[in-house]
Symmetry: D2
Subunit: 388 residues, 4 copies
């Protein structure tokens, strides 16, 4: 409940495209659903294009806008800097924000390189600010519930983790060369954009990966040069073509510290799959299946159910007992994608209020980056790479 003594937390957001919309919506709805210790105030949104950022400011409900992020990073009236810009800009902004003593939120992947990610982590640690890397899928209620079942020992030792993140938005050869397809801006393709999410879910649910062998592929090597939009719905019209410098698809085999046998695939060429982010876990006592396209559901199997009555249960995680969903609607009334960000930021702000560092944070961002790096190296060198 928004009490009289409730404190504010003042936010500057750098960038305003797809992720900017998701984050600003989360700030808007967070205090509506949850009793928050800190109520977000949307102070300023930053973008290079004045027309665009002005429109975003009005729509998203920020008090003001700026075109130069450096101007806002030092402002006294900002507590949190939220970075939703293309990947190649994360490091510079995040480090500057940390040095200015701001808590820092950064979209994933944390950086283009492990080195940058580590510098970012060092900066937030040195400056004693809280940090968040937005691996939002951890915060789907069904995924949190999966974690709870695993922690309670209901699944037992995990034999298998099997993740697929399948999209198809660039199957059309005329889809333009957006920033997500350029290595110098995005770092990698399917790997860092969606594979990184599967890696985070694996780390969250199963633990650390110790080695990988991988394969990457770019099916369409040249594309029309289009506008640098946010990347998921751009339409190319130019006749000029440019080189695609990232992977369209990646797959890798992984071993975990836990002895788990892991398989991963991430692709933007899985025709028919718009956003099929799914995993299956098989353990000695049970199994779990989840799929983002039916994000409210989880399928759970218990080996100890009576003979003849064993089967995957389809559980709609919308009951009061399920994580977060008590704050919403009666059982059976589903929630959508945007709620993952509400939960992610709820957790982060509670951490700030209680002076605790929550997860996923920059350390998670670094560890994820190390795996991304190893996967890419493995594909290039065609050999297993150990993760240290």
């Amino acid at each position: 409940m928004v009490g009289v003594n409730q404190k504010k937390i003042r936010v500057a957001m750098i960038g305003y495209q797809f992720m900017g919309k998701a984050h600003s919506h989360a700030y808007r709805d967070l205090p509506f659903y949850f009793d928050v210790p800190l109520k977000p105030e949307l102070k300023v949104v930053v973008g290079r294009n004045e027309e665009g950022v002005k429109e975003a400011q009005e729509k998203m409900g920020f008090e003001s806008y700026e075109t130069d992020w450096r101007k806002v990073i030092e402002r006294d009236d900002i507590d949190v800097v939220d970075i939703v810009t293309p990947n190649h800009t994360h490091a510079e902004i995040a480090i500057a924000a940390a040095e200015a003593g701001k808590h820092v939120i950064t979209e994933k992947p944390l950086a283009l390189t492990v080195e940058d990610a580590k510098r970012m982590h060092a900066a937030v640690e040195k400056n004693g600010v809280k940090h968040l890397t937005c691996y939002n899928y951890r915060y789907v209620p069904a995924v949190q519930f999966a974690k709870k079942l695993i922690m309670e020992g209901k699944i037992g030792k995990i034999y298998h983790f099997r993740a697929n993140y399948l999209q198809d938005f660039i199957v059309d050869p005329n889809f333009p060369l957006v920033w997500r397809l350029k290595k110098d801006v995005s770092g990698s393709g399917a790997l860092g954009d969606i594979g990184a999410h599967s890696i985070d879910l694996a780390r969250f649910l199963v633990g650390e990966i110790t080695e990988v062998t991988s394969m990457m592929q770019t099916f369409i090597k040249e594309r029309p040069i289009g506008e640098m939009t946010s990347g998921l719905s751009a339409k190319g019209s130019a006749t000029e073509k440019g080189e695609v410098t990232v992977d369209d698809a990646v797959a890798f085999l992984a071993r975990f510290e836990s002895g788990t046998f892991g398989t991963f695939e991430a692709t933007r060429f899985a025709t028919g799959n718009r956003n099929k982010n799914k995993f299956e876990i098989n353990g000695e006592k049970g199994a779990i299946r989840w799929d983002m396209e039916n994000m409210n559901n989880i399928e759970v199997y218990f080996h100890d159910d009576p003979e003849g009555l064993q089967g995957f249960r389809l559980i709609n995680c919308t009951e009061e007992i399920h994580p977060y969903t008590g704050a919403y609607w009666p059982a059976g009334h589903i929630i959508g994608y945007e709620h993952t960000f509400i939960h992610l930021i709820d957790e982060f702000f509670r951490g700030i209020a209680g002076d605790k560092q929550t997860s996923p944070n920059f350390d998670d961002g670094v560890k994820n980056q190390i795996i991304l790096d190893a996967v890419e190296k493995s594909a290039n060198e065609k050999r297993w790479i150990e993760i240290k």
Copy 2:
């Protein structure tokens, strides 16, 4: 986009439970997602319990609260009165609001009786105000898309409409005697609470019903007397029991003007089903299936697909081309229950801005009530009842 000349629309909401939360969230998020001609201002929320309504006011973001709805109905600074109180109070408030010249939103069912519903309709018509009855499931994007397919002739003549609305929240005999189980407050049980939604979907998608034969049942006739909460999650502790005066389950057969053969069932005793609101339409050219628990999806079948390739297509209605969803996230990123209210109110406010009466309105509320009435009469008299 919130432009400089954007006008405001000032809202008073009477009641603040389950539906109050859904409506106030819709007001909050509407301008975030959509370019609205009128931006809602949440002026005042009304409730009899001062502590409760104060808490609601803060949480939901209203400027103020009141404990007497009569005080707000006449206020100059109110454009819309939104009534989310228990059913037996709808008529009095709505008529008063209409007579005060306010646009009126009323939750469904519109009233306890056809007579009340008609008086309400007459009042809004006489006073020239716009009116909305909140049959929100029409505004699921997948349902709007179903309507579009039907309108375009893609399904052809409709042979069958088959609706089930299955819940199980009162299967436990110790679930208390909440207001939804008392005829003098709610009008009816499963019939008016959830069956009414199926009827509205039928009218929206297929057209008018001409006659019905029905059966109603109350499986558990006495329940512990509990608190008058919003009704979906109350827990009874009292040892005293009171009589359940509404139906636990209802089913009816219906004929439509279109010649369609209709079957309906609504129940709160369908163990295992939290909120399974579903329908299937079979027509000469195709078929449609939809289910609220997977509300973003629609299954569509075309009789003219090539032999061997005929099958229900599972379409995730989250693409730019689907109704409303272009305002949200990239394809494959689902939305939830609360969005139905955003769309419902978006449509209503656009109507007000453009001086057009939208649907579902009080006329729909009356027609729905006439059918509810006929269904109940048919069950009582054990005979077919014609709908005039």
Copy 3:
């Protein structure tokens, strides 16, 4: 195992179309999978068309064929007469067979009228022969398993039985006027052909129905006059048209002795559904869902599962512990439609070997017919009909 002392049971089959194929396959495979006390010997198949019946004899593995059923009914070397002819011929043949002292198998529905069905039942009882009415869906392993769960009290008092049998094979107006569409041959349309199966499942799983109210409809009233084939894949070419004298669709509401609230729908106009024979049962302790198109699976829900872990379990009934399936393949290797007849006949022959009358028998056939009759009467007279 076929031991040295294994006895034979000698079969004459009257008719050889769709059901003849299903029955003769069952005779063929029964001793392969099961240790049978009586091994079927296929003595003779009967049909009026000599060319057709000769072809059937060779294909199905009968020793001989005949064109006049009267010639075989009295033969000393026949133990069982299996009647798979169109419905209007059942009574005469079955009564003659019973009077000749043969055990009698009759396809469903047992007869065209309750009177005929009762005469048939009287004849088998008087002559002390065993009898079977082929409501084969009882013998799907998953359905038998459902029955077992109900008998063990795992579902508790049954509140709801909800059955749909949806087909679409006559949606095309040019589908010809086959015998299944003529009342004098088939008795009724969707009602007796497929609705009768739902009624049998209801009686098997829930118990007796006490009253019904119904609605029937013939969407396409005239069709091309085609050949009198077995009816499911005939193609009409004639320009002459004849009247469809049976129902295309039927729906009814039913009350059971058990207090269960029943809804039924059977139709041949459910575009997109080839053979969707399904039911859902909701009880005080649990729920069951089943669908013939996924006949090996059953979905089971237990109300007493721990909070948060409640959900329908998808059980693939192919394990050793499930009814009949131990005789087949390892778990997860599904069986198909034809196995229902193997189990049905296995049970019947075991009954004969042990001098026990099994189910479903002519008594079930009569009771089913009484319900069919009541449903039709209710539709004609537009009122509730009690079942005595």
Copy 4:
């Protein structure tokens, strides 16, 4: 139709466990459903255990039995030798049969080593006999239909092939050390037993694999010494333990000649999955999904479907137009696992009748073995292995 001039094909079957049952059932049912040029005569079944083989002979309908396969291989009255014994015996029997001029059927995998497989292939080629390796899943109607769609260009260039074959029958650590868990008898574990099926489906649908990198794991390294049963349902009781010498799980990444990006996983530790043999194909024009647990269905997606109407179609491949299913039941009446063997042998016998070599044959067996070999080598040497 079994015509007067129909010829016979006389079969000797070596072995009689799980696969023996599947094959002998296929011989039994083949002429019932299909018009065959050669009608199988089951002459003799061979097994070392006299009691067991005698029982099998009677149950499966063979004319006689033998305990020494060498005695039957040379018999003049045998046309086909069908080898369903454990893998380590395939080579010797098959070569002897070929040299005796018999057509040879061998269960998969063809042999324990590539060398053996090649010797077998050389033997059948040299002796001019027809040969079959029983990769039966090719002959699921839905899989044949998938092949047809691919051949017709409906899927376009194939970007992805993604196969999982998931079982869980040995998750229990007390499951005994059956022959399938001993390398000297079975050759490998999940790899050769089930992974080999995925490889065959990949070769059938997509083409040849050019290189692989893999990972194998044995989760439970010692098991109770049990009886050498057929392996899928044995129960161990011994307290003595022996070493598991095969893989419990294997995964590999693969590149195809076609440029397709392939991922494979086969495991017996996928708790909750009894026999989940599935694949997904994503191509430039469409996509296909299939899963053996719902073997009659195929999901097909077409990229060129109108915008908004794109989605996977669930096609029940039981219509007359679908491969093989016209021989069975009306649309919507599903078939089961055993039918795959009927189709496989139907095709083989038609080949013999027409003097054509059909697929999958020993050449397919050799190519499959080369891939199995490469996968195992890759896992052992932790590097990519090229397939020559």
